[in-house]
């Protein structure tokens, strides 16, 4: 499924289980640090001989106060004007004398014998670690991100329906729903590979609205594909499904001459991605994959886990901001004139292009286009396949990905053997809970083909699906159909610029060149902070320039 927006990462979206882990880890770390580090160096010096004390005070930066511990338990505290007369054997100065219970006995000018002193004590300023000083760098980062969000709120806020599955104890965002459908007339259905299989009699999906949007859902179906124990189900862009019993990893992967193989070997959110071109946002790049030759003349396909960067999000919200207070007029026009949206959507898309897959033909010595992938959205990772021509020789398989720089994130690539075409069982939800309670009306809305289930910001739905055979292994995909309406934000109104909107729609090539500088500023702050500082395990991405 596609999603232009990224609001799924609002406070409600943050994975509760992950946050619990972070809180627990924080408390544990706080405890460990509290127990493991070293205590302070305390600047207290005590001497039994006056000579040693004088020597120490002579090298001190400032003349210190003197504390004299007397034999009977009294303490004399003298300000820094003290004098020690080693010849006469007296100490004089202004200060206070305390008894052994530290009650003041005398204050003012004091004089006492050196013989009565047990210990001479000198203290320097105690400098303990300051809890605030250490937080200044973090405060600066926080304020910078906040300012960036205030400056460009569309980059930080706004999104689309997000679907989660429960894997053990962890809910993961596995799909983003119909985000290109930003008006009723643009409603469409889409399928996401949940990358999950089950062998049970039911399966639960969580659907959330975490954005300032109204979601209108016509259908949310679980597509279950019966497969054997050793198989996976893979989907093409055209929603054809194949069972697959083996996948082989690439033996090399180079992007602009750099080895990026390690980012593509596992589906682990350790992704390959590049920065956008600073001169032209439509610049392309190539990634060459090589696979060892497998069995000849078999049906095979390139498997790719991919998602988009925040680039398309930037464009969509820029477009809405350019519309300013005329956004409703423009959307009304979109309802009436379909080609208007096509211009808006396809203008940029045609320049940015799709993720094109080429196969090297050794006999003809040329790259041959096999197909292309395209899914909008930066959150859920899509898994799709591009079937490849049958190879007739035993040479290695070389695949080229041609894509727009800074637009795509690739998590996993493999060559899959396609066993056979399979058809999904299309399941409707048997139970529906809205915000924690069973909701028959909402269920009825979702099941009725003439109605829409309305989901408002903050709503979350638990959808349960009954599977026909608990002993059968099913690979699961999710089909959702609907549209949503983005709520206009006050912050966006100030950015109204119909000329730029016109440029974006009618002269996308020029727009992508002129917008490069602004986007690069956004990309530097947002992409780097967001993708490279992720705490959650297995979410560190590589960043190639």
């Amino acid at each position: 499924m596609e999603c232009e927006n990224i609001d799924s990462f609002t406070p409600q979206t943050i994975n509760i289980v992950t946050m619990r882990k972070v809180i627990t880890i924080s408390i544990l770390l706080l405890g460990i640090v509290n127990q493991s580090c070293k205590g302070p160096a305390v600047p207290r010096f005590q001497y039994e001989k006056a000579g040693d004390f004088i020597k120490k005070t002579n090298i001190a930066k400032e003349r210190p106060d003197l504390k004299a511990h007397l034999k009977g338990g009294d303490l004399v505290f003298l300000f820094n004007n003290w004098q020690i007369d080693t010849v006469a054997g007296f100490i004089t100065g202004e200060g206070q004398r305390f008894d052994y219970n530290r009650r003041i006995r005398k204050e003012g000018d004091l004089k006492f014998s050196m013989d009565s002193v047990l210990i001479y004590e000198m203290n320097e300023d105690l400098e303990l670690a300051d809890g605030m000083m250490a937080l200044f760098p973090l405060a600066i980062v926080n304020v910078a991100v906040t300012l960036a969000c205030i400056t460009n709120p569309k980059a930080c806020f706004g999104s689309c329906p997000t679907f989660y599955t429960e894997d053990g104890n962890v809910f993961e965002a596995k799909g983003e729903g119909f985000s290109n459908a930003i008006a009723p007339s643009l409603e469409y259905g889409d399928v996401d590979d949940l990358k999950t299989s089950t062998r049970s009699d039911n399966f639960k999906i969580i659907m959330k609205n975490e954005a300032q949007e109204t979601h209108c859902l016509k259908a949310v179906e679980l597509w279950a594909l019966p497969i054997d124990d050793d198989q996976n189900a893979l989907m093409t862009r055209d929603k054809d499904f194949f069972s697959s019993s083996s996948q082989i990893a690439p033996i090399s992967a180079y992007a602009d001459g750099k080895d990026v193989l390690n980012t593509l070997l596992e589906s682990d959110r350790n992704e390959y991605f590049s920065a956008a071109d600073a001169e032209n946002l439509a610049s392309k790049e190539e990634l060459i994959l090589e696979f060892e030759a497998s069995e000849l003349n078999q049906e095979q396909a390139l498997v790719l886990d991919f998602r988009q960067s925040l680039m398309t999000t930037y464009f969509i919200y820029s477009a809405m901001a350019y519309m300013g207070d005329e956004v409703s007029d423009v959307f009304a026009k979109i309802e009436r004139e379909k080609d208007l949206y096509s211009k808006l959507d396809n203008g940029l898309k045609s320049e940015l292009g799709e993720l094109e897959v080429y196969l090297w033909n050794e006999e003809l010595k040329e790259w041959q286009l096999q197909g292309a992938l395209y899914e909008t959205g930066p959150i859920a990772v899509n898994r799709q396949i591009v079937p490849l021509q049958k190879m007739s020789s035993s040479q290695s398989v070389k695949v080229k990905l041609l894509m727009n720089k800074g637009l795509w994130r690739l998590d996993y690539a493999a060559l899959a053997k396609l066993d056979q075409k399979i058809e999904p069982l299309k399941l409707q939800p048997s139970q529906l809970k809205k915000n924690g309670s069973a909701h028959l009306f909402a269920k009825q809305q979702l099941l009725n083909a003439d109605q829409h289930l309305i989901s408002l910001p903050g709503d979350f739905f638990e959808l349960e699906y009954d599977l026909p055979d608990a002993n059968q292994k099913y690979a699961l995909h999710l089909y959702s159909k609907g549209y949503y309406m983005e709520w206009m934000r006050n912050e966006w109104l100030g950015d109204k610029n119909l000329l730029k909107l016109n440029q974006m729609m009618n002269h996308p090539r020029r727009y992508l060149k002129r917008e490069a500088e602004a986007y690069k500023e956004y990309e530097l702050v947002m992409e780097e902070v967001f993708w490279s500082s992720q705490i959650e395990s297995k979410k560190v991405s590589s960043y190639e320039n």
Partner: protein, 174 residues
């Protein structure tokens, strides 16, 4: 999960337990002028066959070859000095001054990330971890424990650095 919560709560109460003694500590700037012994918490094992320890806390009065003397600070003038056998002491925390902690920064910094929109998913845990680590470090860096000082070295920070003065008994000390 239950165990994790219990451990977390125990650690938290342990840490916050330390905070309850702050009221007895002077400000960092007063360290030079302090005329009394430093505040100390001592854990003593009175039964060799048990892991149970008993906590004593108060002003460190003196340390001699066999005993450590502290006086409870909570009961003011009626406090009596307690002698603890050094051989029974399991651990201690010696506080020099009020730590410059800013525990408020943990919820405030973490909560502030709500203004980061989408980036909250990264910045909220980052803030929680960094602020927790920082405050844990600050707390630790304000005191010494058995890994930093041995029991004899504690004498430097006692009211009477060379032991109970001759002619005084522990009953005389308040």
């Amino acid at each position: 999960m239950k165990t994790r919560i219990i451990i977390s709560l125990a650690l938290l109460s342990f840490l916050l337990g330390g905070c309850s003694y702050y009221k007895h500590l002077e400000d960092e700037s007063e360290f030079n002028k302090s005329t009394k012994g430093s505040f100390i918490r001592v854990w003593v094992n009175l039964d060799e066959n048990s892991f149970e320890t008993k906590e004593y806390h108060g002003e460190l009065i003196a340390v001699d070859s066999t005993q450590l003397y502290i006086i409870a600070v909570e009961t003011e003038v009626d406090s009596v000095c307690t002698a603890l056998s050094k051989s029974n002491i399991e651990s201690f925390n010696l506080y020099y001054a009020k730590p410059n902690t800013a525990f408020w920064s943990i919820p405030v910094f973490t909560g502030f990330t709500i203004t980061h929109g989408v980036f909250l998913i990264a910045t909220a845990p980052l803030n929680l971890l960094v602020t927790s680590l920082t405050q844990g470090h600050v707390l630790r860096a304000s005191r010494s424990q058995e890994s930093d000082l041995n029991l004899d070295e504690l004498a430097t920070f006692a009211r009477y650095p060379r032991g109970i003065p001759a002619g005084l008994t522990i009953e005389d000390i308040h």
